[in-house]
């Protein structure tokens, strides 16, 4: 418990500084948003002043940030400069990205661990070599190349999956994008599982179990695998945040209307509030995922609780 509290306290300053950094960077974007809003028409000084006052643009950056964070904790992400609440703008888009991330995540979990176990059980065998070579290759090919190739091959030429859009709903429309998004993490999970399993199979407790006369299946399934999965669970936990944040490219290729696409457009249109809103939430997800994994770790591995 003391451990949990300690981790929580450590996470707070990290959260504040990270979000402040993002906030500063975004609002350092050149240009006066109020003037940009007005377009070419001249605007009376009074109107400008009222608008600036309303959006706290006259206050120092730190105060503006303070106002902003107060809003975030009340569920208010601010408004775009056209008056539309950011949270409303993002509502539907979060669902798309979350579905995509979950699909990718399940893919990583099931296939990644499967391949890792396959390779780890027969180290040096054909399956092991194939998994190692394949995963290195997947890590090396940039995700957008994987995306386009998959789109042409499986979507266009073979017609196995829808090529783009979300018309067919979850899971059909999300399968191919999910696999593309998850491919990198999958390769990591597979290699991590393999390495960890190989190490654990050599541990003393496995020898003890073998000496006791336990069957191979029981040794691997119950003893070695359970311990091997501890680092894998960690990676999977943290990777969920990465998947949410890393969906920009995949969403672009498969034309999925998620937050990645939205935030990318917003950055180029200099819509600061949307950018900060999304990135702040992503950082929150990231930090919470980190915390959950840390705490979960204590459950999985009793040595940590006592440490």
């Amino acid at each position: 418990m003391r451990y949990a509290v300690q981790r929580l306290i450590q996470a707070v300053p990290v959260f504040v500084v990270t979000t402040f950094l993002i906030y500063t960077m975004v609002f350092a974007l050149p240009g006066d948003p109020i003037l940009a809003l007005a377009g070419d028409k001249p605007v009376p000084e009074q109107v400008l002043d009222v608008l600036r006052e309303r959006y706290h643009l006259n206050d120092p950056l730190l105060v503006q940030y303070g106002y902003y964070m107060l809003g975030v904790f009340r569920g208010d992400l601010g408004e775009t400069f056209t008056g539309q609440p950011v949270s409303e703008l993002l509502q539907d888009r979060w669902a798309v990205t979350a579905q995509l991330a979950v699909t990718a995540w399940i893919f990583e979990l099931v296939v990644g661990i499967g391949l890792g176990v396959l390779a780890g059980l027969r180290r040096g065998g054909a399956a092991d070599t194939a998994v190692l070579a394949g995963t290195t290759f997947v890590i090396a090919v940039p995700v957008f190349v994987v995306g386009y190739t998959a789109q042409i091959l499986f979507g266009l030429n073979l017609g196995l999956f829808p090529t783009a859009g979300t018309d067919e709903g979850w899971p059909v429309s999300y399968l191919l994008p999910g696999m593309v998004l998850g491919s990198f993490g999958l390769a990591y999970v597979a290699r991590l599982t393999r390495t960890s399993l190989v190490e654990n199979l050599r541990a003393d407790y496995v020898r003890t179990a073998t000496a006791k006369g336990l069957g191979r299946r029981r040794i691997v399934g119950l003893h070695a695998l359970r311990n091997s999965l501890i680092p894998v669970v960690t990676y999977l936990g943290i990777d969920f945040g990465n998947l949410m944040a890393g969906a920009v490219v995949t969403e672009g290729i498969f034309n999925l209307p998620g937050i990645g696409q939205q935030v990318f457009q917003s950055i180029q249109l200099q819509e600061g509030p949307v950018v900060v809103g999304v990135v702040t939430l992503l950082v929150m997800i990231f930090i919470v995922a980190n915390l959950v994994v840390d705490l979960l770790y204590g459950v999985l591995d009793p040595r940590i609780r006592r440490a």
Binding site: Q10, V141, P142, I230, T234, V293, D294
Partner: protein, 352 residues
């Protein structure tokens, strides 16, 4: 830290050890990448992680600090003996030498200069007479364009990694060695930068400063990419600094600086070095992604990412636009990753 008499220094070191050492692990499998390990994970790993090459190598010399360096040398020598026999090593090395040569002397390989003698009438024509790789959208010879694109990737990949490595070694060494407030501060700053999503963070900065060239890209990528190696370095330093040979050196009167740079650094750097090699590949892929998204390098710069950016609109009808730069990009990234992989294997006797 001022010079303490040996006894006093020793005591402070051992008092400091418990809380700092438990926070990190000596990284054994780099696939477990420190980035993915929360503090808790590192705690157990610290206890269960078997000794790796550098640990054992470091323990060998016993009490004579002078031999620590020799042992470090033999670690690298052993690794070299191992590497010499690996096909993968030679294959990646050859690819990288070719890529490096293309980056340094593009004119030797390319028939044309960058964006030179382009003929719009040949736009997007596939491979054929006079142009083995066909033509790009501007009608430039695609082979020449791709060769000229090598420089951006290789330079950014190597420069980012070198700078990130320097930061990592400096922060990791000082943080890990001195501990205390300095260490806590460095660790929290690392956490902050680690928490910024890469693509979004880079996009925000790059859009805020338009008109950026290669060095601005390098700066942004360093800013977002130094954390992993720093964490790893710090963990290594903490693992090494409590070893007998460090205590021996201190008792012989060696100062902090000498201990750090002559004894700890050579024995802690190996895994960081491996991660740096892998990192070059990742940086190249990351840079290409930013180019591809349209926020990285801009025309008239020539880079693989930019070529892929253009290709995305036409790849269905003109696959050669996508295939060739993707091939070069993948081969380069793959070579760095495989090189890192085999060097790791060579440095880690556990896998032998």
């Amino acid at each position: 830290m001022p010079e303490f008499p040996p006894e006093a220094t020793d005591r402070t070191a051992s008092e400091r050890a418990p809380e700092t050492a438990s926070e990190t692990m000596p990284e054994t499998a780099f696939e477990t990448a420190s980035e993915t390990m929360p503090k808790a994970a590192q705690k157990t790993a610290q206890k269960s992680a078997p000794k790796t090459a550098y640990d054992t190598a470091a323990e060998d010399p016993g009490e004579d600090p002078g031999e620590a360096d020799k042992a470090g040398g033999s670690l690298w020598r052993d690794a070299w003996m191992e590497l010499r026999g690996r096909f993968v090593f030679w294959m990646s090395a050859v690819i990288l030498v070719v890529a490096g040569a293309m980056a340094a002397f593009p004119d030797v390989f390319a028939g044309m200069g960058p964006n030179e003698s382009c003929d719009l009438r040949m736009s997007k024509h596939g491979p054929g007479d006079g142009a083995v790789f066909g033509y790009d959208i501007q009608g430039c010879d695609y082979w020449s364009q791709i060769v000229h694109g090598t420089r951006a990737s290789i330079m950014i990949g190597v420069a980012v990694t070198v700078f990130a490595l320097l930061i990592a070694v400096a922060l990791g060494l000082f943080g890990g060695y001195y501990g205390g407030v300095l260490d806590a501060l460095i660790s929290r700053i690392t956490d902050v930068f680690f928490g910024i999503p890469f693509v979004l963070g880079a996009t925000v900065v790059l859009v805020a400063f338009p008109g950026h060239g290669m060095w601005a890209m390098t700066l942004v990528l360093v800013l977002l990419g130094w954390t992993t190696m720093t964490r790893l370095m710090r963990g290594q330093v903490i693992a090494v600094k409590d070893m007998d040979f460090v205590a021996a050196a201190r008792m012989l009167g060696a100062g902090d600086r000498r201990i750090m740079f002559r004894h700890i650094l050579p024995n802690a750097i190996a895994p960081v070095f491996v991660v740096a090699m892998l990192n070059v590949g990742n940086v190249i892929a990351g840079e290409a992604t930013l180019d591809y998204l349209g926020v990285g390098l801009q025309y008239p710069d020539v880079s693989w990412g930019l070529q892929l950016n253009v290709a995305q609109t036409f790849f269905a009808e003109y696959p050669h636009l996508l295939v060739f730069p993707a091939l070069f990009l993948t081969a380069t990234v793959l070579s760095f990753l495989m090189l890192g992989d085999v060097v790791r294997d060579a440095l880690d006797p556990k896998l032998r």
